[in-house]
Structure formats: structure tokens, C-alpha cells
Symmetry: C2
Subunit: 350 residues, 2 copies
């Protein structure tokens, strides 16, 4: 059973998941390349993955057999497991809890396609709908507090299979960066009474110099203090804290805008390794550990959403290496200003 342990100084939880590797010799310094060859995600190989949790499939076809369009299975080497008790306890001055959670893989197509830009727009819309449906399902588990959808493309970005897929992890704690985002946004809200993400959308549209795609529903831009070259964010124009509440029309728009953005990155950077990540509010607005402290209670809207937080997407091309300075300080050295990246990504769309 994996476990969560809390760093007593930074208050940051980490997952110790011993089942994923065994001896020091298991660590190759040469990173394994993502190769072709046998692919467990291909059509007809359904028995090579754990049994499916969910699938969008043709009427009349059976689970774990062909006929699916998008298929969700548990990760074969899960960081967290859905079975078990939280069993929170102290170990001397330290804190730990059981590694209860979900770790799922979204196989985006039965065909051996290696990039989400290779899917039709209608098909990719089904992928986004699958993200939404799985998140909405997992938030019903009272042990789980937070869920995140992410994608790793290329070996340098942590992918071990090239067949286009995404992952979803749900955790029994609200992770560190999300807590900091929620608190940072609440400080801003407490002072100004506005959502900082809504203000960023407004300011970026006015300035224009970092805007890659100005869709009426989604703003695609390079953030002002970007950590990495070509770090790209997508923020929905309509205020909403929960990704799971995405409407059907917006889902189609997001698929279009995201495919457009990824195509630009693929063109400008020649198919770079990258990660994309969907940041959404915790499952339950009032989770105490997020909002405890002097900031006061969060502004909860009538529909249960948060007025100060805004779901969004971050795309991180993995072009630079993170070295000792960044690990030690959290201060990133970005060699390409976001305004320059914006120009290249605009050109790439022309």
C-alpha cells in the first residue's frame, strides 16, 4: 500500500509508492525511449491492461473488448489505490496517511495515434468529455479531496508509451501547489473583491502582447512570469472554479482551442515533449486545510463553486533541464521571454 507523508517544514505531502520500483539497479540513468513495437493500448489488446473502469463504446459491444472509442483503465503501477483506509497518524514529529486515491489512464483512441492533434475534433471532444465524467464520478468518494487530469507526451516529459493517452489522479489531500493557488487567489480576492484569473484574462486581452489565441470562450496566452520557454495557459473566459462543470458547448470549444494550441507548439518546436495539466478547485469548497488560517472563509457561490478561483490549463513544453538552482529555490530561469514565444506561436498558426 502506498502512503502519503508530509514534509514537516514545507507542509508538502509526498507519495511514497514502494511498489513502483525495487532496487537501485532499477534506475537507469539513460531514460528509456518511448518506442513502437507491441502496444497494450491498441485495439484488440484490451486484455493487456487492467479491466476498464469506463468506456465510450459502440452500442452492443462488451467491456474489455473492441468497439470502444475512449477507454479508461486503472494505472498498472498506481501511485495511489482506491482500496484501503486513510489511517491518518503521527510518526514522532511527522505525519502520514494511507495512499488512498485513484490513478486512471484515459486511452484516447483504439488506433495507434501518437498525438492528440492526430484525432478528429469530434473524437477529441469525447476525450475531454471523458475527463469531465471521470472527475465528476471520483468527487463522489468522500475520502477524496482533489482530482487532476494531466498528459505526458514524450520520454523527457515522463511518458512510457507513445499511444496518445492522459492520466487522472485523485488524492486524499489537496496538493501543495493547489493550496498555494487557492490562497494566493483568496488574498487577491479579499483585497479587491475580484477573481485574479478573470482579471488576468481582462489584462492580457487589453495588452495583447502575450495572447496566442483569443477565442471568445478561452484565452490562450503565455503567462507574464512564465517558468519555461513556451509555457502556455488556457483560461476559460466564463468564471468557473470546477472543470467538472464544463458545459457541452464549451467542451467542443476547448477541444478546438487545445488542438489548435498543441498544433502550434508542435510546429514551432518540432514535436516537443510536453505536459498538460488541468488545474481545478478541490472537490469540496470548504475543505478545511486549504482555507484555515487568517484568510477567512472562501467566497462560495450559490451553485457551490468558488468566486475567487478559476479552473485553467497549463501546457509545459519540456525543453530546458531543471538543475540544482531551480530545485533549491523554486525560482526558475527562463531563457525566452513570453512575449517572444507569443510571436512564434502566432506565426505557427498562420
Amino acid at each position: 500500500m502506498p502512503e502519503l507523508r508530509r514534509d514537516p517544514i514545507l507542509g508538502r505531502w509526498n507519495i511514497i509508492a514502494a511498489e513502483r520500483a525495487a532496487r537501485p539497479s532499477d534506475f537507469k540513468h539513460e531514460h528509456t525511449e518511448v518506442t513502437g513495437g507491441f502496444c497494450p493500448f491498441d485495439n484488440g489488446h484490451e486484455d493487456k491492461t487492467p479491466p476498464e473502469i469506463f468506456a465510450r463504446r459502440e452500442q452492443g459491444t462488451k467491456p474489455n473488448e473492441p468497439g470502444w472509442r475512449v477507454r479508461v483503465v486503472p494505472n498498472k503501477f498506481p501511485a495511489l489505490r482506491i482500496e484501503g483506509e486513510l489511517d491518518k497518524k503521527g510518526v514522532g514529529m511527522y505525519d502520514r496517511m494511507g495512499g488512498v486515491g485513484a490513478h486512471e489512464v484515459v486511452i484516447e483512441t483504439p488506433e495507434h495515434v501518437v498525438t492528440p492533434t492526430g484525432l478528429s475534433n469530434a473524437h477529441f471532444t469525447e476525450v475531454i468529455a471523458t475527463y469531465r465524467d471521470r472527475m465528476a464520478d471520483l468527487m463522489r468518494d468522500p475520502r477524496l479531496k482533489f482530482g487532476i487530469v494531466f498528459k505526458n507526451v514524450g520520454s523527457a516529459a515522463g511518458a512510457s508509451l507513445e499511444h496518445t493517452h492522459s492520466q487522472l489522479i485523485a488524492t486524499p489531500v489537496v496538493p501543495n501547489i493547489i493550496v498555494r493557488e487557492l490562497r494566493g487567489a483568496l488574498e487577491y480576492y479579499n483585497f479587491r473583491g475580484r477573481c485574479i484569473f478573470c482579471d488576468i484574462v481582462r489584462q492580457e486581452r487589453e495588452h495583447g502582447v502575450r495572447v496566442v489565441v483569443d477565442d471568445p470562450d478561452f484565452l490562450v496566452f503565455e503567462p507574464f512570469a512564465s517558468r519555461f520557454p513556451f509555457e502556455t495557459w488556457i483560461i476559460p473566459a466564463r468564471h468557473e472554479s470546477q472543470f467538472e462543470r464544463l458545459g457541452d458547448r464549451e467542451m467542443g470549444r476547448l477541444a478546438t482551442v487545445l488542438q489548435d494550441t498543441l498544433k502550434r507548439l508542435e510546429k514551432a518546436l518540432e514535436n516537443p515533449p510536453y505536459n498538460y495539466i488541468i488545474h481545478s478547485a478541490p472537490f469540496h469548497a470548504h475543505d478545511a486545510e486549504v482555507f484555515r488560517g487568517v484568510l477567512g472563509p472562501p467566497p462560495v457561490l450559490k451553485d457551490g463553486g468558488l468566486e475567487h478561483y478559476h479552473w485553467h490549463m497549463e501546457i509545459i513544453p519540456r525543453l530546458t533541464k531543471v538543475a540544482g538552482f531551480e530545485w533549491g529555490t523554486g525560482l526558475y530561469i527562463n531563457p525566452v521571454p513570453p512575449e517572444t514565444c507569443t510571436e512564434y506561436l502566432r506565426e505557427a498558426g498562420a
Copy 2:
């Protein structure tokens, strides 16, 4: 001129250093291997680096000529520059300042040695003394608030030359992770009246299961909530917030303990890529932006040091790849428990 920009949501500063790379095509996805061939750090190649800032050299030899044992030069592609004004200002809702600071390279030996464990203990003690002397010099610049010493070994850890060297960066802001360490330690101190690092040393010595080397002056251990396999910390037993105040005797002990620890990692993991980083308190205890807020003023000792913070060293072997989940959440999945790593590192010392 590089500039610092503040992420408005997380409050995290990043450095935009445009001079370090130019066009998207400059980003190779294949990471350049650290190779042999011509080395600008070798004896006799002093004119292939920027002019030296400092050197420990034989009496009667001249700057930028052979005769040195340890040599410090500015980084050829600095993330920050010592010339210029801070020029702090707002850009709409955002904050920026000029990239004033220092970025130095410590060339640890004139011989072409590729690991610090290949240096004699007396020589490595001189390297540590050089770290201390440079930090002590930089803290006199009133524009600078914080300095960090770090080492990148191997291409995967961000090194571009194999000749054993370290780097030092001094910044006009206290970086995010250090602010969070200072605050986390102050919360603990406010509640208990003790330094959390001193308590960790005490608890780890009592438990024993994560102790790699129990030297009377320095504890080497695997942290309870380690992010990475074989993440290893070195904490001095004597309370001291500033690395720059290291005494001569302790300097020799640190050189011994650090070389011992690195040898164990090299043996257990077959010369892994790694980073090491020295975390030390900001140059000036009262830097307002670190301690503002509800935690109250920090406990300053008579000698000007901080009672709640403790300098220490973090060693991070770069064995696993950081993927979308970690970037999105700050929650790390560590496949090898620190207790297991401890056993391997103890064996490696036998």
C-alpha cells in the same frame, strides 16, 4: 538585461534571462551529452573563461594564469548580472524588477577531474572554504538578499561541462522555497519554541532507520517525506542559520562527510547524475518580505543569526523523471521509501 517577474497567483518570482537562448530551434529535445574534448576549466585555459573574481592560488602567481587550486569566474551565460539597477515596477497588475545579482562558477581544480570525490580531502575543504568566502563577500552588496551554492553533475542534472565545478547565485529577492522553509520553521518555532531542524536531528538519531552517517558534527539522513529516491540531507548538529559562518574545523568535517556521502551514492547508483544545494538563511535576518504577515518577527539571536532556521544541504540524485502530475501539484511520487534507500547507502559505505 535579465529581469525578475512575479507570478501574481503564487507570489513566486522567476527570472526571464533572454540572453541565454534565442530561437525555438535552439532547443534540442535530445539533451547534449557532457563530453570530453576541449575543456575551458582545465589548467592553462584561463583565457577561455571570463576573468576570475577570486582564486586560491600559489604565492607569486598572477590572476588568470596557472598556479590556482580553486578558481571563481562569472558564469559565461549569467542568469543575473551584477551591474544595473533594481528598477522595481508594476506592469498593470504584474510586478517586475531588474535581474541584478551574481552568477558565479567555482572551478574546483585545475586538473580534469570529473567528480568531487576525486579530489583530496584537503583540496575539497578548500572548495567548501571558497563557497563560504564568496557567500560572505556577496552578502555585503545591499541590493542582494539571498545566496545559494549548488552543483549539477551529469547532463540529466543540468550540467554542461564534466570538469568538477559548482555554482553560486545571489538574488535580489528571497526565493519562494526559502520563504516557505522560513515560514514553516517559524510556525513550528512559534508553537514549540524550538528549531524544527534541531528536532529533526534529535528524532532521526533516536529512530535511526533513516540515518546514513551519524557524524558528531553532521547528520546525513534520508528525509521522512523524501520527494525522490535517494534524496539525502546533511544537517549540521550545531544550530546555525547561516552557512557563511561555518568554522574552519566544521569546514573540514563537512568536506569529509560530503565526500563520504557522495561516494556512497556513486557506489549504490553507479555514478548517478545529481544536484546538491546548500540552503542558508537570507543575508539579512529582517528582510521584510519573508517575515511579513501574521507569524510575527523572527527570533534573532545576539550574533544576528535566526533561532528558528538552520542551514543544511540537500542532495538529489536525478533518477526519476518529473512528469505532469508533479508539475501540476507539487506532490511527488517517490517509488523508493527513504528507509530502503538508507539500507543501500549504509551497505555502500561498508
